[in-house]
């Protein structure tokens, strides 16, 4: 009987908090927080856990308390100001210690990735960069990239560096990165000569996937009706000319260097340079813009990227995908519209300010408040689930390196490894609809369901059932490199309700249903060792659809 008024009061409180929060973040945009913020908007532990499940690789008791004490605005400002340690530096350090003749591999990047995801204090940057890596996709599955792991690490640094910067800069850094150049074959691309035409690969994907998409969009992300294409084949052919003449960086612009000869030792990460002899001198027309004949490669690139950046689709197209990667699969058009508006103008007349976009994504009512709708939420992807577990239980690495190789195998592992997407279309597509389901019947999307199938569900459950008691990662002398610490949980075993409360908060943002709670309490109330009870509670939660769907 008391439920309804209580709920109403709670909702009112949340709305008030969001209002204050928005005002505060707008007021102190870019500036470190002052002491006033934390006094006003202090999220409850549940609210803090909810923010952290979206804005980090997983909530921990410590971080929930920190966020609750700091206040949301201060926490975000603190995160924006965190320095960025470089994967690139880690790769160089590893390289320096490798025995002569041994080369860096993708696994060294994976070590760096997991170290930062689990122990890094710049969690917001880490989480947003991972989301960006699923939009601006390159992959170690490409042989050239597999042979240049330091270059890929530097690319990931680039995503992190500009995650809080401007989209226009991010777009340029991505475009000129030699790993992207190799992945989408803009590197060594040449002007029209006789029957030979410029390679269209990057021109197509930079439009389809990285900026504007296929269809003209309204600012709320819905498609313009009647449907209208954003570009034609001729636009691609025109834009392809811009991406000619680019190749490896180096001390000269010789033909030999263009084709890969006399490699500069740092060409794996230095931005590609333009070789005038190979750049298209013909006029370049695309999207209503024409670059006149004989314009330089650098100037052509500037015009092209400005044109893409200023296309009205970018805000809703990228904004919607960031919401999907971080918060939910099916945001309302109004939510997408608010994020697009932040992209279009950060409040100070600046377009493409990703800090403003991230705030709009994370601090929206739809992100901050739990919804009881049966269509809310997103399926947590396997990498995120593993990271949630490692963070929640303070995983440490015996080697300090977090040695965990690729987890590609869907049957025995996770069916997903960071930076190993099978194609430029990511592990799953933002528009994926699982066929023959209630989701497709309701005209909804479920991107992560694209990698959820009869085999992968077995792989995930068995992987976690092994990892929870034994840890994971490289096994040396019968001990796994990455191991959890259940000290806190063991202390709660004597009070099963408190144990479940604790896990419900850090893993599930207090969304556990009474049914699941009853099932878990039933399981841990059976006579058993204390540590088995901890394993049971954690595994049953992490196996449950209620946990798997972030809500």
């Amino acid at each position: 009987m008391l439920t309804t008024p209580l709920l109403k009061t709670k909702t009112m409180q949340v709305i008030l908090k969001i209002f204050l929060l928005t005002a505060l973040l707008t007021a102190c945009s870019g500036e470190p927080s002052t002491t006033t913020t934390s006094d006003v908007v202090k999220p409850t532990p549940t609210e803090a856990s909810r923010i952290l499940t979206q804005a980090s690789f997983g909530a921990t008791t410590t971080e929930i308390n920190r966020l609750s004490n700091m206040g949301t605005a201060a926490w975000f400002n603190d995160q924006f100001a965190k320095p960025q340690p470089l994967h690139f530096a880690y790769m160089n350090a590893v390289q320096n210690n490798l025995p002569a003749g041994q080369k860096l591999t993708e696994e060294h990047f994976f070590e760096s990735f997991w170290q930062r995801a689990i122990t890094g204090d710049d969690q917001l940057r880490q989480r947003v960069a991972f989301a960006l890596s699923e939009i601006f996709v390159i992959s170690f599955q490409n042989n050239t990239l597999a042979n240049n792991p330091r270059g890929v690490a530097h690319y990931y640094d680039t995503l992190e560096a500009y995650a809080f910067g401007n989209f226009r800069t991010l777009l340029e850094q991505v475009t000129l990165h030699p790993m992207m150049g190799n992945y989408l074959s803009s590197l060594r691309n040449q002007k029209t000569v006789g029957a030979r035409l410029p390679d269209e690969n990057y021109a197509r994907e930079v439009m389809q996937l990285f900026t504007i998409g296929l269809k003209q969009l309204n600012q709320d992300g819905t498609e313009v009706i009647p449907a209208a294409a954003t570009y034609t084949s001729d636009d691609i052919k025109g834009l392809a000319k811009v991406f000619t003449g680019w190749s490896w960086a180096g001390s000269d612009k010789s033909q030999n260097r263009f084709f890969g000869g006399t490699p500069d030792p740092n060409r794996d990460y230095l931005p590609m340079q333009n070789y005038p002899n190979f750049h298209e001198p013909l006029p370049k027309s695309f999207l209503g813009t024409t670059i006149s004949a004989n314009t330089t490669g650098e100037e052509s690139l500037k015009i092209a990227l400005d044109t893409l950046f200023n296309h009205p689709n970018v805000g809703p197209f990228i904004g919607r995908q960031l919401i999907q990667r971080l918060v939910m699969s099916n945001p309302s058009p109004a939510y997408v519209g608010r994020v697009a508006a932040a992209f279009n103008n950060n409040g100070l007349g600046v377009r493409g300010d990703l800090k403003a976009v991230i705030k709009a994504v994370m601090l929206d009512t739809e992100a901050l408040t739990a919804s009881s709708s049966n269509t809310t939420g997103k399926l947590r992807e396997p990498i995120i689930r593993l990271a949630n577990w490692m963070r929640a239980f303070h995983a440490t690495s015996a080697s300090t390196r977090f040695q965990l190789g690729n987890t590609d195998d869907p049957l025995r592992e996770l069916g997903q490894t960071q930076m190993r997407s099978p194609t430029v279309f990511n592990f799953f597509r933002p528009g994926y609809v699982p066929p023959n389901t209630s989701i497709s019947a309701a005209n909804l999307l479920a991107p992560e369901m694209q990698i959820t199938e009869e085999t992968s569900v077995v792989g995930y459950l068995n992987f976690m059932r092994n990892a929870i008691p034994n840890g994971t990662g490289l096994r040396v002398n019968n001990v796994n490199d990455i191991r959890p610490d259940y000290t806190t949980e063991l202390a709660l075993v004597a009070t099963p309700d408190k144990l479940v409360d604790h896990l419900n908060l850090i893993l599930m943002q207090n969304t556990m249903s009474p049914t699941l709670r009853g099932q878990i309490l039933g399981a841990i109330n059976v006579n058993n060792t204390a540590i088995n009870k901890v394993y049971l509670a954690i595994f049953l939660i992490m196996a449950s659809p209620e946990y798997l769907v972030q809500k």
């Binding site: 389809q208 194609t423 389901t437 479920a446 209620e546």
Partner: protein, 492 residues
Amino acid sequence: MTNAINLSRREFLRKGSLLSVAGSLSAPFAFNLFSMNVAAASTFTSDYKAIVCLYFGGGNDSANMVLATDTPSWAGYQAARSLGGTASIALPMGSVLPIVPNTTKVDAVGTRSFALHPNLTQVKSLFDGGRAAIIANVGTLIQPIADKVVYRSNSVQKPSNLFSHNDQTDQWHSTDPSKPIYGWGGRMGDVLKTSNTKQNFTNISSSGNSVFLAGETINQYQINANGAAVPIGGMTNLFGLNGSNNPLQAIITSPASNNLLEREHAAVVERSIAAQTDLNNVMSSSNTTVPTPSQYINPNNNQPANNSLATQLRTVARIISGQSALGAHRQVFFVSIGGFDTHDNQLTGQADLMARIDHAVAYFYTTLATLSGVGDMSSNVTLFTASDFGRTFTSNGDGTDHGWGAHHFVVGGAVKGKDIYGSFPQTAVTNTGAGIDNPLDVGSGNWIPTVSVDQYAATIAKWFGLNQSEIASVFPNLTNFPIQDQNLGFML
């Protein structure tokens, strides 16, 4: 025993509630389910047939897979692709493998002659032996498009988002613009699933989630590429807990909430559990009886290496060998091999891919000919190829860009082989010297397809056993093509 009863009861409840959810949101969906269940469908309970889709991920450059070698065509090919030095993506005449179709092709170019990619030696043997056919210039079409003038006039309906990987992949897999998430393999499974005792195993992918196998009433089973059948552990004993105290199965299959994502995740888990025992029976016995493929030789370094495509086809052969255990009479399989998006380094990249395909297909048909327990299955199994699109006939230096129509091959004892079906694009250089002037060229040597995916697919579907009305429902574009062209005649 207890579990099985609980499971089926839960399944019943879940399906009931799903239907009511669907009904409240979308009446046509519920109606479809109903009508599919009661419609009289073709059912086969004595013979066995299977279709295997071999997918080339990324868009195969079929112009280097099947080549026109008559003098004018070859001159055009060289002009477009032999750009000198590292920039050449033309295959040398001395390396390609000549083939002589039963039916001589004579067209505006003259009498055509043909060859296969140098690394397709065993596919050539299958072709020469009458067990493989080539279908020329196949691609996504909603209705015929006569030439580039018609194409540009916007007087015909064109496939949307041409030249885009994911969109063209979906259209190849689906062919139905109104149902882009359902594939024609899946829709055939919807129709014929009543032929199979274990309907879970009607549509099987060894290569992840494919649109091709997605049905409106049937789900594809995604098997591990190696065919390994692994159960979910901890279902009985879990961390010291056993038997009836263990809530794991209830938790993972029966969420308390109505959240659609939670319920659909649980449905996948439930299907996985239901299929596991059957699969394990078939896969454990066939692991010894179906031979493992040898290594193939990578033509770029002449070193032997494992061929994961052959492994996938072994998994398919193992399931076919278990047809009686599964009560299977009609099955559709999906296997795939990636790496065809050869914007650069095409000559070496594609050579390796062709060698893998050649090795895997030859292994598959050799294995099918003496399949343990079921005998010679090579005439019961038809393999066809598919890909995102063809590629530009022109060169970008060391590779090719996204195209449209492409040549494909069909293999099996039921194929009327040693022939090339459909008209082969004209690639002769014109007298004016303006390059290749092909009325089907919409730019850069991207051919408007002269055979639609529907025609290609429906010809196979007819052999598979679909009747005329079922074919019409599975391939809604087919009616846009002349009746005499709706069956291309390459199947016995």
